[in-house]
Amino acid sequence: MTTTEQSPETTPPSDYGTHPGAAANHAFKWVSTGAGSLILITLAAVATFLLMEAWPAVSMPAAELGDAVSFIKPEDGQSLLEIVGYLVYGTILISVIALLLGTPVAIGIALFISHFAPRRLAQGLGYLIDLLAAVPSVVYGLWGVAVLVPFLQPFYQFLADYLGWIPIFAPPESGEVFTGRVALSAGIVLAIMIIPIISAVSREVFLQTPKLHEEAALAMGATRWEMIRMAVFPFGRSGMIGATMLGLGRALGETMAVLMIISPGLTFSPYILQPNQHNTIAAYIALQFPEANALGVNSLIAMGLALFVITLLVNMLARWVVSRRSEFSGAN
């Protein structure tokens, strides 16, 4: 019993042809290869679909497209390309706010769970964070619009009153922050949404730090924080970057929460406390899709293509950063 089960692990894979477990091994190989290639095929199919469906809108002269699609208004500086520009800017702006606010908190939580909290608390807390990651985005959206936005409004007024001289915190014309449905709110809700993902992954990475490294650092008289800086962070850097990129992926593509919270607009403005300035690609598509005609749908798919490209670029950038750092990480 035990011998037959153990032997596939000990024999080199090249000999498995004659082994009793060979059929299963073979099947497993094909299943995993199939799963791997399915991802590639899906990706290629999505890219092809986006290109084909976007083409009628992309290839059409701007003025003609403007006549056919109600939300494209070249005469008001809102041609398809310009709208994509505004939306890419808005998407990145809001995602960056989310990352800036979310990442430090998420890393802090991960560190607390992996290195500071008593074991019992750490387990419970880790479980809780994993649960948070499973909350659907529409719930975050509802909560954001019903609870968080009204709660934040006085705080925004404070920001505008005292820090309004910094361009990004400039209040609306009247000096009164009359609504909390602004880019900063969307960023904050997205931050809350990505914290569980980033901290769950980072926590696992931090836990993998070789005990020997940590103990060596402590033995040399390092405080716990110094130990974390010397042993945990260098080891976990690529993992942290990977976790952040996962979070960014969720932030970039998030639709419902942004849709429900932000009062959208199309500008390149830096004013994150003013409504009607920003929107994200995903939320814009959701706003316009229900009433869009055929060419309108083509135009929206072109915007989806832009989002697809951004996501690919972000991921490639992350890969590149991780690979550049890998020599220091100790992960290899």
């Binding site: 109600s70 939300f71 009062s263």
Partner: protein
């Protein structure tokens, strides 16, 4: 043992799907027979059966739920479905032949009329039947004020940010005796593409005498700096409700306890009411793009001076073929549409969606048009 149970499940599933397939297979011809014999005899008291799947404007969704339920309770063997994909999507599916009729807030464009001739049997193309009339209310949140009188020009200036405070002379002069605060006006609009926005901007464009500088469009835009966009009717109503000094527009059935504006029509101020909303149809001519006299595509005349009519009204249509190639389809569509246009159907929609029932003469006219729809 486990393997046995599993294969047992598979067998049961296979048997089930077989029997289901058998069911549907035996159903289809039965439906044909029933309706075919029905058409051969009289139109009334016919046992209809089959499946009627439509798509279109989301504005009609709650009314459509009421119509589906009502029609299905009268015709137990008919299943009616409605996919609220939006007017554009509904027209697209209708023109592609995927659905037998579409719900739409807007009228077919010229190219779409032409495509409908291709889609429908014969050369008569498609027609509009007004089925859902719903007043749009201008709602506001001012403590202690339930109703305001405003003319279109003032409303346009408020929504475009040219009037920014509630105690502005233009508002005060039309509302003597109402205590208006000096607070700022927050304009709340639909951020999504919607027929409500289109009707509202169309009203402003037609009646404000140039005060509204934009065209009628599904995408509301404003120069007002103190403005908030919200996604969907519920979000607009919520935002107005939670913001002091806010003003917005929404389907009248959703106005709730919020203050509403009585619009100036002719020399009088008309608050919204189902009757006044329905009267706008009587006050409006047919569109000059209409496809013959059976095409009840109205060019809503919002500039009417008839003060029994409420001009800020959404009229939503069912777009049907004048001739269907399939008798079953024709029988189902006409029977359903007759129910929708009937007093009973309109009352059901009024209860479920707060819409305005069709005037009796329009309802009768729609029924006579439905009688003319042929099967090829």
């Amino acid at each position: 043992m486990k393997a046995f149970t599993r294969s047992g499940v598979v067998l049961t599933a296979a048997a089930l799907s077989l029997s289901l397939a058998a069911c549907s297979a035996s159903n289809e011809p039965a439906a044909d027979d029933a309706t075919a014999s029905a058409a051969a005899t009289s139109e009334t008291a016919v046992e209809l059966s089959g499946n009627l799947q439509a798509a279109g404007a989301s504005s009609q969704e709650s009314a459509m739920d009421a119509w589906r339920a009502g029609f299905q309770s009268l015709n137990a063997d008919v299943t009616v479905g409605y996919d609220p994909v939006g007017s554009g999507g509904g027209i697209e599916q209708f023109l592609a032949g995927a659905v037998p009729f579409a719900g739409s807030d807007g009228l077919l464009e010229e190219a779409e009329y032409a495509a409908a001739v291709e889609r429908c049997d014969g050369d008569a193309g498609a027609i509009h039947l007004p089925m859902y009339i719903s007043p749009v209310a201008v709602i506001f949140n001012l403590e202690g004020v339930d109703s305001l009188n405003l003319d279109a020009e003032t409303i346009a200036n408020i929504f475009d940010g040219k009037i920014t405070t509630w105690d502005d002379e233009a508002i005060a002069s039309q509302n003597e005796g109402v205590e208006l605060p000096s607070s700022n006006i927050t304009v709340v609009f639909r951020s999504d593409s919607s027929g409500t926005s289109e009707n509202f901007t169309d009203y402003l464009e037609q009646t404000s005498g140039g005060a509204w500088p934009y065209e009628a469009t599904k995408e509301f835009s404003t120069a007002a700096s103190q403005s908030v966009g919200a996604d969907g009717t519920s979000a607009v109503v919520d935002t107005v409700t939670s913001t002091d000094g806010a003003i917005g527009y929404a389907d009248a059935s959703r106005a709730g306890d919020l203050g509403t504006v009585a619009l100036k029509v002719g020399e009088e101020y008309v608050p919204f009411s189902p009757e006044a909303a329905a009267n706008i149809i009587a006050a409006s001519p047919l569109s000059d793009t209409a496809n013959g006299e059976n095409d009840l595509a109205y060019a809503i005349d919002r500039t009417t001076t008839d003060s029994t009519a409420y001009p800020l009204t959404l009229v939503s249509y069912h777009i049907v073929c004048q001739q269907y190639d399939d008798e079953t389809e024709r029988a189902l569509v006409t029977a359903f549409e007759k129910y929708v246009a009937s007093e009973e159907g309109q009352a059901a929609a009024a209860e479920a969606a707060g819409s305005a029932p069709l005037p009796a003469d329009v309802s009768a006219h729609v029924e006579s048009i439905l009688d003319e729809i042929a099967a090829g």
